[in-house]
Symmetry: C2
Subunit: 364 residues, 2 copies
Amino acid sequence: MTNPSLLILPGDGIGPEVMAEVRKIIDWYGAKRDLAFDVSEGLVGGASYDAHGTPLTDETMEQAQSVDAVLLGAVGGPKYDNLDFSVKPERGLLRLRKEMDLYANLRPAQCFDALADFSSLKKDVVAGLDIMIVRELTSGIYFGEPRGIFEEGNERVGINTQRYTESEIERVARSAFELARRRGNKVCSMEKANVMESGILWREVVQKVHDEEYPDVELSHMYADAGAMQLCRWPKQFDVIVTDNLFGDLLSDAAAMLTGSLGMLPSASLGAPMANGRPKALYEPVHGSAPDIAGQGKANPIACILSFAMALRYSFDMGDEADRLEKAVEKVLADGVRTADLLGEEGVTPVSTSEMGDAIVAAL
Amino acid sequence: MTNPSLLILPGDGIGPEVMAEVRKIIDWYGAKRDLAFDVSEGLVGGASYDAHGTPLTDETMEQAQSVDAVLLGAVGGPKYDNLDFSVKPERGLLRLRKEMDLYANLRPAQCFDALADFSSLKKDVVAGLDIMIVRELTSGIYFGEPRGIFEEGNERVGINTQRYTESEIERVARSAFELARRRGNKVCSMEKANVMESGILWREVVQKVHDEEYPDVELSHMYADAGAMQLCRWPKQFDVIVTDNLFGDLLSDAAAMLTGSLGMLPSASLGAPMANGRPKALYEPVHGSAPDIAGQGKANPIACILSFAMALRYSFDMGDEADRLEKAVEKVLADGVRTADLLGEEGVTPVSTSEMGDAIVAAL
Ligand SMILES: CC(C)[C@H](C(=O)O)[C@@H](O)C(=O)O
Ligand SMILES: CC(C)[C@H](C(=O)O)[C@@H](O)C(=O)O
């Protein structure tokens, strides 16, 4: 049997630094648990633009299609702000999502006990919080046509199109219901059906998938503006939230911030099963490229490391190994080991990005 | 000189109850400050649908066009959930916004000192918070064509169109800069220029209006997902936020919730100046129709009363009278008078909707 294959795309800003720590974890699994991965590495985002004039080359795209899982760091930075839209760093990431057809973006918003004080919310509102946002990732206004900036009379008009087919909604709804069954068995679907027809179709299809295939799961619907409110008011009312690409972008970022653990949150983007039964998959931290602190050893590698834990769970069916890694992270936090983003409490041990990686390896 | 004219549209749910309290305030101004208004009343939303089969009649629409200001309560309720999209209660409100061309929706997110403990956020994060969200209200994905649910192959597809012209962006940007000059002199503009071309045009036009007309105002740009995060993390970094119709819907609801004062927050929707120099204007509370508590004397009338204060300020140039009304509200709160939504502290006096109105009149 061949080893499972990983493509690592560190990207921009703090991406390379945090990914270096993930490599330590991967090496540990190879050496100590006899889980060897075939690892290759490539460029994405600004790093790829600098080398090749495009945020993702066709070769790297092909490679991503052929491996078992892609691990991505982060893309973007002020250096690339004035690039043409078509070659912006983000286009590399969006091309990966679209061409790999990674329609289900899983974004856990979890509050780590040791870090509950970091939230801007009151401790009782967030302590123990554990919700999963399932964001549709390959359609909606991110990709709909027509799009662009056009001349109209004597002025310009900017146009984007929100567009969802029934089957696009069905498949992401199924992902949400499947996840809910393995968690709190509750799904809340969010849209603006009071204002948008695409939201009406969204609500109808989610309800139909529920009634026909998942009647045992508790389903509710909420307008996305009310959802943003309720996330800020009492996030623990939610278990799984399913929503479209754009609402998911805002709501998952807000939810991540609520936990106070932004540097801690991983994500998985999953597509259809490949020939070997594994889903197409890309794993990345929820945080961005943080160019302001890049290269200073200040970045927190935990989000990226926990993204690898998600890979163990969702791509390689190694839930036990994922648990092991997550427990190691919790232990290190409980021991008071903290990167620069999490300082401020009494009695903690400040460490660099690399020392945090070492501490997690040691805890393993 | 004729009296200024007001059209009152109480709408659904708690709308009529809270509006009854606003009438007491209006009467007080007529009796005690010699500020008589010509007040007429009409139906909107579900109430209009029940009476006329449409959420807004042409007659009421015409009336709204001809008065100096419209005061609206709230629209919607579960009773109307299964109505056809075209006659849903919300369509009445959206028609008013669109046909009156109320392009600038002003949504203050303010934390009242007496109520800071009600926020789910830590007190130091929200105490003293005072931001103004300026939401574009007559364009974008709320109104863009094509829209609808269409057959495509053997499935359906839901489509909505985000669409902004340069002049639509310019005029709302001006509103934001004008407001900023009278406040903290800072504007943050939010879009997704990294993903949407309409966001690129938005950013470019806001920057141009700034550079050509308001170089004295401090301008920054933020992606809307980062904006949602920053609102949850440290909202006091903002003064005026300007954003599009859909982002504004979510971000202003999140911001409102942060303050802990949802039952307290008013809004103004302003259009171009009429022949008499007053802007077209509609004032309404940020909260919804709250059908679950309607008719029980539990609703908080303050948001609707403060909406009338905004009318005094923005429609009738009576800033002093608006200040007077706002101070009366603050005094009543400082005295510990509380409607059902704000109970829970020690030593407060619980009152009904109507008693709250009376208390504010007494404080005037
Ligand atoms: C970088 C950007 C294109 C991306 C998005 O908008 O989807 C990011 O915000 C995210 O949430 O993954
Ligand atoms: C009632 C609804 C149509 C409306 C909107 O989406 O604009 C409301 O949520 C608001 O924010 O005023």
